[in-house]
């Protein structure tokens, strides 16, 4: 699998005139399959903007983001959407599960967006829930799940299309200690087991021992990269 995610001199700014905030400044990073990369830094350092850029959710002012060999700039909304659907799974701090759908239906939505329906979709959704250990909660609504279970369902939804890239924004911030540990272990295993690129934005120092690589950011710039490719 030609797994590839990179940024090349990416800059992003918000606002205009005197109110312009430069959220990312000339960020160049390359991510490797099977590696769990932690992006750390204080609030406002540009972590989430970097994650949005990596996820193809915003187009940088300058520089290029490449997802699976495709440069995001120049793609229209639909093309960018298809690229995201094929290549990236997202895990959010607030879970962002569809509150009216059960756990398995949440996973099925991700498959439906990709055009997978019917018994095959059901099998894949069941397998995804099984893989994260919440198959016994398949028919529960998000409101009936604990925080840890919700995040597991969110991870199952993110992985159900078997994307090569998983982006997680503060995935343990809303969880208690034990659940956070379990989710961290799960993501660690996902990176190593399936040779995926896993990028986790976090403040949580418990992640430090699980990350293969730590990128530290401040004021929109990468200040330290433990795994920089020379």
């Amino acid at each position: 699998m030609n797994t590839c995610l990179s940024t090349d001199h990416v800059s992003v700014s918000y606002g205009s005139g005197a109110a312009t905030v430069r959220a990312l400044r000339d960020v160049t990073l390359d991510f490797r399959p099977g590696e769990l990369t932690l992006i750390m830094g204080p609030s406002g350092s540009g972590k989430t903007t970097l994650l949005s850029a990596l996820g193809g959710l915003l187009t940088p002012d300058t520089g290029e983001v490449s997802i699976m060999g495709t440069t995001v700039r120049g793609l229209d909304q639909e093309e960018a959407g298809r690229l995201r659907q094929r290549s990236i799974g997202y895990v959010f701090q607030a879970f962002r599960l569809f509150r009216s759908l059960t756990a398995i239906e949440n996973a099925l939505v991700a498959l439906e967006i990709g055009g997978v329906r019917g018994p095959r979709a059901l099998d894949k959704a069941k397998a995804a829930l099984e893989a994260v250990g919440v198959s016994h909660r398949a028919n529960c609504l998000p409101s009936e799940l604990s925080g840890g279970e919700k995040q597991r369902v969110a991870i199952a939804r993110a992985l159900v299309n078997d994307p090569p890239i998983l982006l997680a924004d503060e995935p343990t911030a809303s969880l208690d200690h034990a659940s956070g540990e379990q989710i961290a272990s799960l993501l660690r295993g996902i990176a190593a087991g399936a040779r995926r690129i896993v990028v986790v934005v976090t403040h949580d120092n418990r992640w430090l021992e699980r990350g293969d690589r730590i990128v530290e950011m401040s004021d929109g710039q990468v200040t330290k990269d433990s795994g920089e490719i020379q």
């Binding site: 989430t48 994650l51 949005s52 996820g55 959710l57 915003l58 909304q77 639909e78 959407g81 298809r82 690229l83 995201r84 659907q85 094929r86 990236i88 997202y90 959010f92 701090q93 607030a94 962002r96 569809f98 509150r99 009216s100 759908l101 239906e105 939505v109 991700a110 967006i113 990709g114 609504l141 924004d169 503060e170 911030a173």
Partner: protein, 372 residues
């Protein structure tokens, strides 16, 4: 369908409020529409009941209730036009009806000759072909209580002349405050104290196959002192007069218009709010790579589900309600197309509101998913 339906059902209170809003909007539109339709229909009800192709009316007369004399000799002139096969004289005017209890009530006497039309109320001896019964009147069932008439055969007094009720009819409820009282031309002339040859309107029948345009043109050129209208033209004039030029009609028209506006605004706002409620979910779908079409389909499906169920509830409430209203406002009229068209309007408004709100949904910035 799955996510759209489940979203609606999940927030049951919200869905119930949505359905209430749409049902209320449909009820408002159908009820106000029925009032307006009924008013307009009543305004030309007597004209429409005739079979005459043309009506000859005095200049300036815009409705049946503004009866004004026309020269009686015009009947003979009209009969002389090729293609004209019959001309009925019609008189109308206010008279005092003395109730059995001795109280008085103003009524609007309408008298015409044999052959005015199969639907035109006339006291025939048998069917609509036989001779007319003298000193007989017909009135609408909605006015029976007011006039203290319990049924046919009741003896009454109109402008101090004796009469009997031949039949209590339906669908001729008056909207002018004076019940219609149908009788023969001869008797109406007597009740109204007119001379034997007085005429207020002439109802002209043309032979089958003759050119109506030519006959109308010839009638008008031979009688420039009056207006010669096709039946539909006179009906439209009457409807326009009562609806646009009278206070009551304008109020009903305005109320119907406002009802429509309020209804559409309620529907639009309700659907828009439903979409906005799920904006975060649409952002998540978009981040996950959902196409615009996928999101548009969800929003439109939600709108159509809400619109269809809401409209059906609204119509099912409105139909018995209109029947109830009809008991006190006899001329209210809900044609079959009224609820059907209002359901269509509601679905159209739902679609329009969905299209407006879907723009918001599909233009939502997917990057917002990372904002906790």
């Amino acid at each position: 369908m799955g996510l759209a339906w489940r979203n609606l059902c999940h927030e049951r209170t919200r869905f119930a409020v949505t359905l209430c809003g749409i049902s209320f909007a449909v009820l408002l539109m159908v009820l106000q529409g029925s009032l307006l339709t009924g008013f307009m229909r009543s305004a030309s009800r007597v004209i429409d009941a005739s079979d005459a192709e043309f009506w000859i009316v005095a200049k300036g007369v815009a409705c049946f209730e503004c009866a004004t004399p026309v020269p009686a000799r015009f009947r003979e002139i009209a009969l002389g036009i090729p293609g004209v096969i019959a001309v009925e004289r019609v008189v109308a005017g206010a008279a005092v009806w003395k109730k059995p209890s001795g109280k008085s009530q103003l009524v609007y006497v309408v008298g015409t000759e044999h052959g005015a039309g199969r639907e035109f109320p006339l006291p025939y001896l048998s069917g609509s072909e036989g001779p007319l019964k003298p000193e007989m009147v017909m009135l609408d069932e909605s006015n029976a209580e007011l006039l203290e008439v319990s049924g046919a055969g009741i003896g009454v007094e109109i402008n101090r002349r004796q009469a009997s009720v031949a039949e209590v009819i339906s669908d001729f409820g008056s909207f002018i405050g004076q019940p219609y009282m149908f009788t023969t031309y001869r008797d109406a002339v007597q009740y109204l104290g007119l001379s034997g040859e007085d005429v207020h309107f002439l109802a002209v029948h043309a032979s089958t196959g003759s050119s109506l345009a030519r006959i109308q043109s010839e009638l008008q050129s031979r009688m420039p002192e009056v207006n010669v209208w096709r039946r539909e033209e006179f009906a439209w004039e009457a409807q326009t007069y009562w609806t646009m030029l009278t206070g009551a009609g304008s109020a009903i028209l305005t109320a119907a218009f406002l009802g429509f506006v309020v209804g559409t605004v309620v529907v639009s706002q309700t659907i828009y709010a439903t979409t906005m409620e799920n904006l975060e979910e649409f952002a998540t779908l978009k981040a996950m790579g959902a196409s615009r079409f996928y999101i548009q389909r969800i929003v439109l499906t939600q709108a159509w589900i809400s619109g269809s169920i809401g409209a059906l509830i609204g119509v099912s409430i409105t139909i018995p309600l209109v029947r109830l209203v009809k008991q006190s406002i006899a001329w209210v009229y809900m044609p079959w197309w009224m609820p059907v068209s209002m359901v269509a309007v509601t679905l159209g408004m739902c679609s329009l509101a969905a299209i407006v709100s879907v723009r918001k949904a599909v233009s939502v910035e997917p990057a917002r998913v990372f904002r906790a």
